[in-house]
């Protein structure tokens, strides 16, 4: 076990405890203090086979308010945790497809409700499957945990449009994690994805362009090491870890991945995710927009 933990420790992250290896998860499959949570873009993937004992969080159906554009409230979050058999003391370990993009998004939403006993399984589904580790189609059932979520904290990790506008006007640090083509206005959406309805292209003035995928090793979906990440975000882009930073993308999901990288792997003092992102900014009347590289 010690060797397994060291594997993360030696990578030079600010908060290595936020990440666990596939091997660590494999060794803890029967640990009742841990709940594995799978969250994917393709919601059929969990049903096709998942880690033994893992539960499913559907990012659209479980985390979003069904009527208005917002996240669920404390009542629905408590009900979700009841269904997942999670108590405030449970450590949840998220993993999923697409380099843990949705896993980080789910973790970010959990943090809005103060559930910070959370980890990401490095490499997600891709690494687990590449290593030939077991999958099952058996869906675990848990008795209701009686979870009582506090009110949602929309201040610590979340940024709203007017706050971002003031932040950008004050030359705050912004990271645009979309593709360079979206950033520069060559396209209104990421490659191979449809346009989700932005009327204007470009980026928020002053934002640095760091596509979210740069933080991962494409061959197994694992995160790059601390020094490699620092080279990208700090040395190359000049982002200062002791100053606040706001990340955004199209609807706030890719930027949740970067939120995790900046907050936990690089230890930036304050990181917020602007979930309104480009679908809000690019459609809003009168907001400033910058184009080009």
């Amino acid at each position: 076990m010690e060797a397994v933990l060291k594997e993360i420790d030696v990578r030079g992250y600010a908060h290595p405890e936020a990440l666990v290896t596939t091997e660590w998860v494999h060794q803890n499959l029967n640990n009742t203090a841990i709940r594995l949570i799978e969250s994917n873009e393709d919601t059929l993937l969990y049903a096709s086979g998942h880690l033994p004992g893992a539960v499913h969080v559907d990012w659209t159906a479980d985390l979003n308010d069904p009527i208005r554009r917002d996240y669920i409230g404390p009542e629905a979050f408590s009900a979700l945790m009841d269904r997942l058999g999670v108590t405030p003391e449970t450590t949840v370990v998220f993993y999923g497809d697409r380099n843990n993009w949705w896993a980080c998004y789910a973790m970010w939403v959990f943090e809005l409700f103060g559930h910070t006993r959370a980890r990401i399984m490095d490499g997600g589904r891709l690494k687990w499957q590449k290593e030939g580790r077991p999958l099952t189609r058996e869906v675990p059932r848990f008795t209701a945990s009686g979870y009582n979520a506090p009110g949602r904290d929309d201040h610590t990790n979340r940024a709203f449009r007017d706050e971002v506008l003031a932040f950008a006007s004050a030359h705050g640090q912004l990271v645009d994690v979309r593709s360079p083509e979206e950033y520069s206005d060559q396209r209104l959406h990421m490659a191979d994805y449809p346009n989700e309805g932005a009327l204007r292209g470009g980026h928020i003035p002053g934002a640095k362009s760091v596509p979210w995928g740069r933080a991962v090793n494409p061959e197994d979906g694992s995160f790059k090491s601390g020094p490699e990440l620092r080279r990208i975000y700090v040395e190359e882009q000049g982002l200062l870890p002791n100053r606040e930073v706001i990340a955004y993308c199209r609807i706030g999901e890719r930027s949740a991945h970067t939120w995790f990288v900046l907050k936990y792997l690089l230890g930036f003092d304050r990181v917020r995710n602007y979930d309104g992102s480009w679908t809000e900014w690019g459609n809003s009347v009168g907001l400033p927009i910058e184009k080009g590289q």
Binding site: D42, A47, D58, R125, Q129, D192, P194
Partner: protein, 166 residues
């Protein structure tokens, strides 16, 4: 279920009986598990880009082969190993539409994606899957036009665009 061409209605009717999301997921998976990739006599890797389904992050490719009896046989490839929904849709489209005249296949609406997957998919995922249906529409329209023109040549669709001046 008469709004759907061919046997497509049968698949959608079967899915409509599965009220429970877990049962529905199982049914869709059973379709996905029956996925068979485009046979080598039709296409081999690297697949020509003309067959790539636009805006589909599952990296789907689609082919239509016009048969001697004037019907169309549909084939698909899904390169993303996580593209389970794309595989399920490919099987439903193949089983529901292959063997029909192209003019009939061309009437299929991309909205069937929501009849199959309901609203439980992200907008991005839904649009990508709808793009698969649109690719089938394009294939069917081209094949129908080729049939109507009595044009000879390759029977595999979509056809590459003709070079200017030819």
């Amino acid at each position: 279920m008469s709004d759907y061409p061919g046997r497509l209605g049968e698949a959608i009717e079967t899915l409509s009986f599965a009220a429970d999301p877990a049962d529905r997921a199982d049914l869709l998976l059973s379709f996905a598990n029956r996925f068979r990739e485009v046979p080598p006599e039709v296409a081999r890797r690297p697949f020509p880009e003309i067959h790539r389904v636009p805006a589909c992050e599952s990296e789907a490719f689609a082919w239509g082969v016009l048969q001697d009896d004037g019907t169309l046989a549909l084939h698909f490839a899904v390169e993303n190993p996580s593209g389970v929904s794309a595989k399920a849709l490919a099987v439903i489209l193949d089983r529901g539409l292959s063997g029909l005249p192209p003019s009939e296949i061309a009437t299929v609406s991309p909205d069937i994606v929501y009849d199959i997957f309901r609203r439980d998919i992200s907008m991005g995922k839904g649009m990508g899957l709808m793009s698969m249906v649109r690719a089938v529409q394009t294939i069917a329209r081209q094949a129908a036009e080729a049939e109507a023109d009595g044009s000879q040549g390759a029977r595999i669709f979509p056809r590459p665009p003709e070079r200017p001046g030819r």
